[in-house]
């Protein structure tokens, strides 16, 4: 695990081109350990593409991206997947959970593909760890644990997704507009719980949103409004 305040992710001159003319250019940026960074930009500005680049799902067409001490251009696809599984927790905008699986199974997925994250489980017991994270996200672990995911409310689903992203203490959590389907009251509650839980675990947060009201509690802001993606 990287030392505190060490740089987890650093990007310079990043550009991504899709066949068909879609081009995205990112400003130079970095995310340090334990830091909360908001990525702000309107729809179509390339926020999701930016997250895919950071997570190593997409390879930049040009530029440099260093992640957790590795030059991602030199890593194979498999190694990038491994790096993502080991070091990054992900919260989606919506459809975060497998509807046919239980809450426990959904959260446990967080360490399913990473030995490193499994090894970082504090108590050594998956069930105890999941229960603690659900409680941290203000969910009743005892009654919630074995409920099928499709029976949860949207707010509950997002909190379960946050618990999954934090399981196994990944150094970085990335969130792609996870509050967009929540009402105002629930948005703030979710943000408070997420900040508290990630501070407790020491994880950095890279949070994408188009809503300027949500960025006040972050250490830094990456604004994609001017750089943006565009169709050429």
């Amino acid at each position: 695990m990287p030392a505190l305040k060490s740089v987890l992710i650093r990007g310079e001159n990043l550009m991504f081109q899709r066949p068909g003319g879609f081009t995205f250019s990112a400003p130079a940026f970095s995310v340090s350990a334990g830091e909360a960074v908001a990525v702000l930009g309107p729809s179509g500005s390339g926020k999701s593409t930016f997250l895919d680049l950071v997570a190593g799902v997409l390879r930049p067409s040009s530029g440099t991206l260093e992640a957790f001490g590795h030059d991602t251009n030199k890593l194979s696809l498999g190694a990038l997947d491994q790096l993502r599984g080991d070091c990054i927790g992900v919260i989606f905008q919506e459809h975060n959970l497998l509807p046919f699986a239980s809450v426990f199974q959904n959260v446990a997925l967080g360490v399913q593909f990473s030995k490193a994250r499994r090894a970082r489980l504090k108590s050594g017991s998956l069930a105890t760890e999941i229960a603690a994270l659900l409680t941290a996200m203000d969910l009743d672990a005892e009654t919630m644990m074995h409920r099928p995911a499709h029976t949860l409310s949207v707010g509950q689903r997002q909190r379960v997704a946050a618990a999954r992203a934090l399981l196994g203490d990944p150094p970085l959590v990335i969130a792609d507009e996870p509050t967009s389907a929540l009402d105002e009251g629930n948005q703030q509650r979710f943000m408070d719980l997420l900040h508290a839980a990630r501070r407790a675990s020491g994880a950095a947060l890279l949070f994408v949103t188009h809503d300027p009201r949500l960025v006040q509690d972050f250490d830094r802001l990456i604004d994609l409004s001017d750089q943006g993606a565009r169709l050429r």
């Binding site: 799902v57 997409l58 992900v90 459809h95 497998l98 199974q105 399913q112």
Partner: protein, 427 residues
């Protein structure tokens, strides 16, 4: 946990999956049933007269004589003289000779007129002697009759029951032998051969009930034994009951090395009566050669049905991929490599085919058991002799293997879409 999740994911799509499994299971069952029928037919034919070295009959077709005499199939073979039987019996190379006379029946089941030697020398299956479920002290003495297992079961006969045989294959109306009933003196254990559907009686009793007949035309009524209290002790050793003709002779030789020499001698009997000597094993091989292309065509047809069903399975998996893009995106976000996701699809295809193979096997066993109960007498085959043959087991493994290969197509598409979609499903 991934297997558990894969199963839950499949359960969430259970209706389409059940329909796919049913389609595949039916095609597997069809394939297995055809193979089972093939094996049962071969076993039944090969095992019917396994202890017989040579079959001798009147000059004619080898295959026709064998099929009619041993398997009761096809047109009646011409008869041979009794004196020729005595010649065969007296040959120095002959260890035993059992006369066979066919032609009459009882309620649709064939009657085999023979001697008690039949039970001592005729073998079934892999050299298995005939066994009895029940028998009286004397089997074929007088007007005693021994029943094949299925005859006794289907007609609910027991030892001591009196039955009348009919002339030819007339099943009901014929009453020409009604005044001369036979008494059940034995019931054979099941053999899985046409013997199960036969009645065996002494060739002299067979002669006695035809006494006075002119060919197939009934003659004067024979009434001298009508009042006998125990028909199984009637003495039929008199010369008047010696048959003049018979259908064929089962022959066992002292030395197998002399089979071809013996056959040559039989076929050279032009001066007395021209005869045919058949080697059952060789003639059956000729039969399988003749039927081989039909067997292969049937098998190819059933394999094509299985392949069509597998194509259906592939279509289903491809069609559901769009619905599963979110699921796949979640796995990717958690660090799953595209190859792991492709593997998941292959595992799913294998699980489906495994379920289909097992269901198909159960369907086949159940279906052939029911067919055996309902159509046993008609098919004259033991469909349930073997649970699963090696060839069937290999076919099932091949089916699962091919299914895994067809799973590669949706797996490849999932791999490609997961690379394109990244951590979220794009529509």
């Amino acid at each position: 946990m991934m297997v558990g999740l894969a199963l839950r994911s499949m359960l969430a799509r259970k209706l389409s999956l059940i329909l796919t499994v049913v389609t595949l299971a039916l095609s597997v069952a069809l394939f297995l049933t055809i193979e089972r029928l093939r094996v049962a037919t071969r076993d039944s034919f090969d095992g019917t007269i396994s202890g017989v070295d040579v079959l001798v009959g009147a000059r004619g077709s080898d295959l026709g004589l064998l099929l009619y005499t041993a398997f009761q199939i096809g047109d009646a073979a011409p008869s041979m003289r009794w004196s020729s039987f005595l010649d065969v019996q007296a040959d120095a190379r002959t260890q035993w000779a059992v006369p066979i006379s066919l032609g009459d029946s009882h309620r649709g089941y064939r009657v085999i007129a023979t001697t008690s030697d039949y039970f001592d020398f005729v073998r079934t299956g892999r050299d298995r002697p005939l066994a009895f479920k029940a028998k009286a002290p004397s089997l074929l003495s007088g007007f005693g009759v021994v029943l094949g297992s299925d005859v006794a079961r289907a007609l609910d006969y027991e030892l001591g029951d009196a039955i009348a045989i009919q002339h030819g294959l007339a099943s009901a109306g014929d009453r020409s032998h009604e005044t001369q009933p036979f008494i059940v003196t034995g019931i054979l254990a099941a053999t899985g051969t046409p013997i199960d559907y036969s009645l065996l009686l002494h060739i002299r009793a067979f002669e006695a009930i035809h006494e006075g007949w002119n060919g197939s035309v009934p003659g004067r009524a024979i009434t001298r034994h009508d009042g006998a209290t125990d028909r199984t002790v009637i003495d039929l050793s008199g010369d008047e009951f010696e048959p003049s003709r018979l259908t064929a002779v089962y022959v066992g030789l002292k030395s197998k090395r002399r089979i071809f020499q013996f056959v040559e001698t039989i076929e050279d009997r032009r001066r007395t009566e021209p005869l045919t000597a058949v080697l059952p094993g060789i003639t059956l091989s000729q039969l399988w050669l003749l039927l081989g292309s039909a067997e292969r065509a049937l098998l190819t047809f059933s394999v094509l049905i299985v392949l069509a069903a597998l194509a259906g399975q592939m279509t289903l998996l491809v069609a559901t991929l769009d619905l599963r893009r979110r699921e796949i995106a979640i796995y990717r976000a958690m660090g799953a490599q595209p190859l792991a996701i492709a593997g998941l699809l292959v595992v799913e295809a294998v699980l489906i085919s495994l379920a289909a193979a097992l269901s198909g096997l159960v369907l086949t066993l159940l279906g052939t058991w029911v067919a055996g109960q309902v159509l046993g007498g008609t098919l004259k085959l033991d469909l349930n002799a073997v649970m699963v043959t090696i060839r069937q087991g290999q076919a099932l493994l091949a089916f699962i293997g091919v299914s895994a290969v067809t799973g590669l197509v949706p797996a490849f598409l999932a791999y490609r879409s997961s690379l394109q979609d990244g951590m979220r499903a794009r529509y």
